[in-house]
């Protein structure tokens, strides 16, 4: 079963086209990076995939079924979503926040079973926060908060993960830490990951494939080396960047500002 299929998807806000005829598939164990300039429709595409918005035309299918046809609890056991800058109240502890991920599994009166606690413990260990489970969310750094959100998504035990800019406001160390973690989730657990990334270098380094969205149209889809070519980037972002192949990373591209 294909985790996410998007077919000829179009969407408009108040008559203004945001997405035009987008098609792609997301495979198990794959990290697909969604890139593009501001306002290209990346977040909209992610929200359509999660079922928060309904397609204007075309279809979205999660494991074969449109998101709106899934019972909400059932869908939450298959697909986890972390919106950009997702809010958790500062008075929640790390443990309470991660246990929220068990919501689609909890039974009568929301009393957690041992299997729920075990899943939350495992998720916390994965992101390296096991020792901080009694901390309050309000006391965490941005990187720690982002890792808690990832742990919450992991606690849902999803097979598909939708992430909107999980590295914004993080320093380079935490950006790398969070994205390495996401890669490991995909590789070791076979989770399909669709991740919106703003930073082209991070996208080139950590994604298996890239989808370049420009003005609501998917202009390129494939290996980072093919998608991030100098001429294409010049067409999209203007002549302000240069692209170098990185010898330390199988020739994956590095994007640098042009010296004028």
């Amino acid at each position: 079963m294909i985790p996410l299929e998007v077919e000829n998807l179009s969407f408009a806000y108040d008559g203004r086209a945001v997405l035009r005829g987008v098609s792609f598939q997301l495979m198990p164990g794959e990290v697909l990076g969604l890139i593009g300039p501001n306002g290209a429709g990346k977040s909209t595409l992610l929200r359509l995939a999660a079922g928060f918005l309904r397609p204007g035309a075309g279809t979205v299918r999660l494991f074969g079924r449109p998101p709106t046809e899934w019972p909400p609890r059932e869908l939450a056991r298959h697909v986890a979503m972390v919106p950009q800058g997702a809010y958790i109240p500062p008075t929640f502890t790390v443990w309470e926040s991660v246990m929220l991920g068990r919501t689609p599994y909890l039974g009568f009166l929301g009393v957690p079973r041992e299997s729920d606690r075990e899943a939350a413990r495992r998720a916390l260990k994965w992101v390296g926060m096991a020792d901080l489970s009694e901390r309050l969310m309000g006391e965490l750094s941005g990187g720690e908060r982002q890792r808690v959100l990832l742990a919450r998504a992991l606690a849902q035990e999803p097979q598909c993960l939708l992430l909107d800019e999980p590295t914004t406001h993080l320093d380079i160390h935490h950006q790398v830490a969070v994205l390495s973690l996401i890669r490991r989730m995909a590789m070791e657990c076979g989770i399909a990951v669709l991740v919106v990334l703003h930073d082209l270098n991070l996208a080139a380094t950590f994604a298996d494939r890239l989808a370049l969205l420009v003005d609501g149209t998917l202009v390129a889809l494939g290996d980072p080396r093919e998608v991030l070519q100098g001429e294409r980037l010049a067409a999209v972002y203007g002549p302000s960047v240069v692209v170098f192949p990185r010898p330390d990373n199988g020739g994956r591209p590095a994007i640098l500002p042009r010296v004028s």
């Binding site: 986890a80 008075t91 919501t103 929301g110 009694e134 849902q156």
Partner: protein, 374 residues
């Protein structure tokens, strides 16, 4: 699972001690506190039954209750009572129903406050925000103006009118706030403020145009809250609505935790947000309307009790709801006992006691707390 070492350098080692310091005793031993609070509730209820114009020793209160509930059936010849028979009548006909009613109203208002604060993600939310109080006041005032003597299903006219008024006002606000298929919180709060203002103004105008000072006083008493007319009939009447409402709310305790997040996160965690909000608002409005219909509008309990519980024991609604209920019951039983004894034989309005006693205590807690509270 074994290769996670590379990313947890910042948190490896010694974290347990550090983490423990961050959660205080209240939060780690919270279920013990709930048991203690429940014991305190039973104690407060006993004292509430003992205090009054005729003072009855707490021991006699317990003996009379015990005899009435358990021992009469078990013993062939019950022990000879060593108290005046009038005590039994006072207790069974007046004090116990009043304390029970105060407890029910207190539970309902406090739990309702917790639910509204969670649903609206707004610390100022309280049971009266979306029309229950102003609708009930308006209905009650209409009934007092036109002297409704009709009773229906155990309701006397004023209570029935208050109950219906509360539900109608809530329904009106909810439907006015609808935008397409959704009911955004901000429009709901704004519609609530507007309808409340309109209904309150109309209520005051009705009061203003009353020729009869006695009836105007009746309305005023109702607006400030009072349990002076408590009896078993009122307990029986509101019990089904209160129990049904609380059952539905308890069922959704964890969902209320999830609703603390924004709606997209709640949805992605498997919560059908709009449907759940609708169900909860219906349940909480029914229970609150029933409570308010017998007590008048008792302010402050619904606003501050959930805040006090959240300050001390954290935001988990599986604990916050039962603890708020128990603390709400204790507060209202205590407040009502003060209201009827402090200036006996005159009764203080209940709302005056809850505000005068509650506000300073709440401000004290708020000042002591260093971090954000909501």
């Amino acid at each position: 699972m074994h290769s996670s070492r590379s990313h947890n350098s910042s948190s490896a080692g010694g974290g347990h001690l550090e983490g423990d310091r961050h959660l205080n005793l209240f939060r780690r031993r919270r279920w013990l506190f709930l048991a203690l609070a429940f014991g305190l509730l039973l104690g407060t209820a006993t004292l509430g039954m003992a205090w009054g114009a005729v003072s009855i020793p707490p021991r006699a209160v317990l003996q009379i209750i015990g005899q009435r509930t358990l021992l009469t059936g078990l013993l062939a010849s019950p022990p000879l009572p060593d108290w005046p028979p009038a005590w039994e009548t006072i207790l069974l006909e007046i004090r116990i129903p009043r304390v029970v009613l105060a407890g029910l109203v207190g539970i309902t208002l406090a739990v309702a406050g917790a639910v509204y604060q969670a649903l609206f993600r707004n610390p100022l939310a309280e049971p009266y925000l979306i029309g229950v109080s102003s609708g009930a006041s308006f209905g009650a005032t209409l009934a007092i103006v036109f002297i409704w003597r009709l009773g229906w299903g155990g309701w006397n006219g004023v209570s029935l009118a208050a109950f219906v008024g509360a539900l109608l006002a809530t329904a009106a606000i909810y439907s006015l706030a609808r935008v397409g298929r959704r009911t955004p919180i901000t429009t709901l709060i704004l519609a609530g403020v507007a309808v409340n203002a309109l209904l309150s103004a109309t209520t005051v105008f009705l009061m203003f145009s009353m020729q009869d000072a006695f009836r105007a006083m009746h309305v005023l008493g109702w607006l400030m809250g009072s349990l002076a007319l408590a009896d078993w009939e009122k307990v029986r009447t509101i019990l089904p609505y209160v129990l049904a409402g609380l059952a539905v709310i308890s069922w959704h305790a964890h969902t209320l935790n999830v609703l603390q997040l924004d709606e997209e996160q709640a949805q992605s965690l498997g919560v059908a947000v709009e449907r759940t909000k609708g169900v909860l608002i219906l349940a909480v409005s029914l229970a609150t309307a029933a409570a308010v219909s017998v007590s008048g509008t008792v302010g402050f309990i619904g606003l501050i009790v959930p805040h006090i519980v959240r300050l001390l024991w954290g935001p988990d609604h599986r604990f916050l709801l039962p603890m708020s209920g128990v603390v709400g019951a204790i507060s209202l039983i205590l407040a009502d006992s003060i209201a009827r004894t402090a200036f006996a034989p005159r009764e203080l309005p209940l709302g005056v006691v809850t505000a005068v006693a509650g506000a300073p205590f709440f401000l004290y807690l708020l000042r002591r707390q260093k971090r954000e509270v909501f």
